[in-house]
């Protein structure tokens, strides 16, 4: 029986942390549903059920207490992130497969909650976009909220070519990467229906939703300001500098910040404490690194968005970052390298 000091504990639990993360996702999700239809909610349901079932199965297989870990909420957070980053009209099996990979491979093979070195949702995203690049980059056109058609897309076999569109990031990249088109950023952004006023039609408002939720998380002291700030600032700085240097080739910071997964990434993906850096300096380095790689992949790479790859790449560096950014301990703050 455990009975040593401290005998007192603050009432806090992993469940409450995870639940508050879910709450913070609500504004962004709501706006997402507004623009892309109830299919988003269906995907969340598919991912959540798969995640919980997979979690329960693995826990049972490993002989761990099922109920305790099922109710910690971490699987739900992973499931929501998968549902929100996968296309809303992705076939159901894509989401199920992704969630299984996230929960079984990326999380439980490493020992489960708290032990995975890689962000499970992002592992799922990367596996899926490498395996099914086509399916993973088909978004419904903004405002296409016909529930029946969406359901056919998710559960049926028919494709919805007429209403499928690339994301703004994807469209811009494809246009710029096609040498014959002689496209410029301004030209592409002005011409295409996908692009809204700032970041892409609808997308900018979703980003604002995530921003609101994220700020609330900071206020709740679930996450610290370091990661979102470093991520957004780095992304804005690089994009801004590139845009100033060659405005016809590089989109500006407002586009990069308000489109794709930048906001959900800044507040909900890079801030994952398990797979991210944990020291204050480490957090800044980590998030800045993710932003840099994201921008590189977005602009020069072959994939529509780089946040997932960038997160995994920086996840790898976390042990080294943490090791080398340990703050000085009590009594050694004055002297440099005072680690005895």
């Amino acid at each position: 029986m455990l009975d040593n000091s401290p005998f007192f504990r603050q009432p806090a639990s992993v469940t409450s942390v995870m639940l508050r993360v879910l709450v913070a996702l609500i504004p962004g999700t709501a706006i997402y549903v507004w623009f892309f239809g109830a299919a988003v909610l269906v995907q969340i349901a598919i991912a959540s059920i798969t995640a919980l079932a997979a979690e329960a199965a693995v826990l049972r297989l490993r002989g761990r207490p099922v109920w305790m870990f099922l109710t910690d909420g971490s699987a739900l957070v992973t499931a929501w992130l998968i549902a929100l980053t996968f296309p809303p009209i992705a076939p159901w099996w894509l989401v199920v497969l992704g969630t299984l990979i996230a929960i079984v491979v990326a999380k439980h093979l490493y020992g489960g909650l708290g032990q995975n070195p890689f962000n499970p949702a992002m592992v799922a995203f990367c596996v899926m976009i490498v395996a099914y690049p086509q399916l993973m980059s088909q978004w419904p056109a903004v405002g296409f909220t016909d529930f029946h058609a969406q359901m056919t897309a998710i559960f049926g076999a028919r494709h919805l070519d007429a209403v499928v569109m690339a994301t703004p990031l994807d469209a811009l990249r494809t246009a710029l990467h096609t040498p014959e088109a002689h496209a410029t950023v301004a030209g592409v952004l002005g011409s295409n229906a996908t692009f809204g006023n700032i970041g892409g039609k609808g997308w900018e408002w979703i980003a604002v939703g995530y921003l609101v939720g994220g700020l609330w998380l900071i206020q709740q002291r679930i996450i610290t300001w370091h990661m979102p700030a470093a991520f957004l600032a780095t992304l804005a700085l690089i994009a801004g500098a590139a845009c100033l240097a060659a405005p016809e080739r590089f989109a500006g910071p407002q586009f990069h910040l308000l489109t794709g997964g930048a906001m959900i990434g800044a507040f909900f993906i890079v801030t994952d404490p398990v797979s991210g850096a944990t020291t204050p300096r480490g957090k800044l380095i980590f998030a800045a690194g993710v932003a840099l790689i994201t921008w590189i992949i977005r602009v020069f790479g072959a994939y529509p968005d780089g946040i997932a790859f960038a997160t995994l790449l920086m996840n790898m560096c976390v042990p080294l970052i943490d090791m080398h950014t340990q703050p000085p301990v009590f009594g050694y703050k004055g002297d440099k390298g005072g680690t005895s």
Binding site: V14, G114, T278, V329, F330, K333
Partner: protein, 549 residues
């Protein structure tokens, strides 16, 4: 009068629960049926018993004499009969036993002869010896022998002497009550410490949730007229009463782990220790009691002046424990230790006996895995990364845990207090620390064994060589002898051969002489014998004369 205060990182603000135990004044705990006085009550060597079973002792008589460099004496808590010296359960989490003096009070409570110590006229070393023999140890909980700390350090003087009256742990009010009721003793003791350590100033740090104690101490300073003494209210935040944290708050100095604070010009004593030093020097009384808070699951919590060796059961009985009581905790809820039973004695480290019940301290909820949320990092007053230390301690990768400064951890419990996964982090650190210590001891033992073994090998080798040398010498001798015989007629060494020749010739002559000597010399009369002797002497003389010639 506002002093610039510093802040330490982290800390928590638990519910304090101090109010119930300060309603009553300090009471003297009655004499128990028997005292169980453990010999080992302080850090360092185990005192040597100085009494025998059946001996009558008086109150304050030394029962355990200091033994070794770091050690402290132990005294009889009252007058009475030494009933036994035996192993009794210690107030220690392990529940193991150690040697105790069992004292049966005679009820007379007679003091040994004692008188104030003229410490001002004595050399510092003599004063330290008195403190050691008076059994004064730190009463804040660490029970480090105080005489070793009453030391101005390498520089010959201290900048700041800190008197720790912060008392940051929930429930505990013994220092608070002592400062309220007996501030003069504390202030005088602080004055003595100031003079002994040559401190430029003395700061008494008291958490600002004890305004009465602050007022009482200020008044006492005015009354006693002690100089360079100042009471400083420090913000209430656990663990402000940690020695290092309080030094940091009052002076801004951080004393790293493993360094002497005197090297940084500061030293820290608990208020209770200051009072005990006052008693030891100004009254000449050894330390036989202390103030103990009894709080928690009792009807009438309060503070008691308790003699060491009083079983906790009898102390708790004074306060009316509630029926659902299931445990006693020595110390506070953050750093205290669960007692193996209620018969264990109050010792010098006992600042509080916390009575617990399942309702009061519910069994911890199941431990979840660490999610690296960083709450513990925010709470750690030693600026550590607790979850990394936990991660490696749990996996028994002790080297790695040490790389994350495991030994800088003061086990304050803040990390475990805030952990959303409810991990008993401190248990892992204690486990890792004691494993590492055990390993270091094993390593030292192994190194020593290697030395012994190598010495033995060297010795055996030497003995072998010596034996061989002896044998060789003997062999050479025999060889020489043999060689000598063999070369008797040889001309290799002419002179030697000549001498040998003479020797052998003489030998031959002797045999011949012996042969020609008359054999009728047996059974002679004394006269004949005398004649023979005369003749022999003549012959010898003749022979000598001949050979001389």
């Amino acid at each position: 009068m506002s002093r610039r205060l510093f802040s330490f990182h982290g800390g928590v603000k638990p519910a304090y629960h101090k109010a119930p135990s300060i309603l009553q004044p300090i009471q003297a705990a009655p004499l128990p049926a028997e005292f169980v006085i453990p010999l080992h009550q302080s850090i360092g060597g185990i005192p040597r018993p100085t009494v025998t079973v059946g001996e009558r002792v008086r109150k304050g008589q030394m029962v355990g004499a200091p033994d070794g460099n770091v050690t402290s004496a132990v005294h009889a808590s009252t007058s009475g009969l030494v009933k036994a010296m035996e192993m009794r359960r210690m107030p220690h989490t392990s529940g193991l036993s150690a040697l105790c003096v069992i004292l049966e009070p005679d009820g007379r409570d007679e003091w040994i002869d004692h008188a104030p110590v003229p410490w001002r006229e004595m050399s510092p070393n003599a004063v330290r010896d008195i403190l050691r023999d008076s059994g004064v140890v730190g009463l804040g909980g660490a029970v480090f022998p105080s005489y070793l700390k009453v030391n101005p350090g390498k520089r010959g003087h201290l900048d700041t002497l800190v008197i720790n009256g912060a008392e940051c742990e929930p429930f505990i009010t013994c220092d608070d009550m002592q400062m309220r009721e007996r501030p003069e003793g504390v202030v005088r003791g602080a004055g003595i410490l100031r003079d002994l350590t040559q401190a430029a100033r003395v700061l008494v740090g008291i958490e600002d949730n004890k305004p009465e104690a602050i007022a009482a101490m200020k008044a006492a300073i005015e009354r006693t007229g002690e100089e360079r003494l100042e009471v400083v209210a420090v913000p209430t935040r656990y663990p402000a009463g940690g020695a290092k944290q309080l030094i940091r708050v009052l002076t801004g100095i951080e004393v790293p782990h493993g360094k002497r604070s005197t090297d940084y010009g500061v030293q820290c004593f608990n208020t209770g220790t200051a009072h005990a030093i006052h008693d030891a020097l100004e009254l000449g009384r050894p330390m036989i009691s202390r103030i103990v808070t009894v709080a928690g699951n009792v009807e009438r919590p309060g503070n008691f002046e308790v003699r060491f060796g009083t079983p906790m059961r009898e102390l708790v009985a004074l306060c009316g424990p509630k029926p659902d009581t299931d445990r006693l905790i020595m110390g506070g809820p953050m750093m205290g230790f669960r007692m193996p039973g209620d018969e264990v004695p109050v010792v010098k480290a006992t600042n509080c006996v916390l009575v617990g019940s399942p309702a009061m301290f519910p069994p911890p909820p199941p431990e979840m895995p660490c999610i690296r949320c960083g709450e513990c990092v925010k709470a750690c007053p030693a600026d550590l990364t607790p979850f990394e230390m936990y991660w490696f301690s749990r996996a028994k990768l002790f080297g790695k845990a040490q790389e994350y400064h495991l030994f800088d951890c003061i086990e304050c419990g803040c990390c475990a207090y805030v952990c959303p996964s409810r991990i008993p982090l401190v248990d892992y650190y204690r486990f890792a620390k004691s494993e590492i210590w055990a390993r270091e001891q094993e390593k030292a033992a192994a190194d020593q064994a290697r030395d012994y073994y190598e010495f033995r090998l060297a010795r055996e080798e030497r003995e072998k060589q010596e034996k061989a040398a002896k044998l060789a010498a003997k062999a050479a001798e025999t060889k020489a002898k043999l060689a000598g015989q063999a070369t008797a007629d040889g001309a290799a060494a002419a002179e030697d051969a000549h001498k040998a020749l003479i020797a052998s010739a003489m030998g031959k002559a002797k045999t011949q002489q012996d042969a020609v000597r008359p054999r009728n010399t047996d059974s002679l009369t004394p006269e004949q014998q005398a004649q023979v002797a005369e003749a022999e002497a003549r012959r010898t003389a003749n022979t000598e004369a001949k050979s001389d010639a």
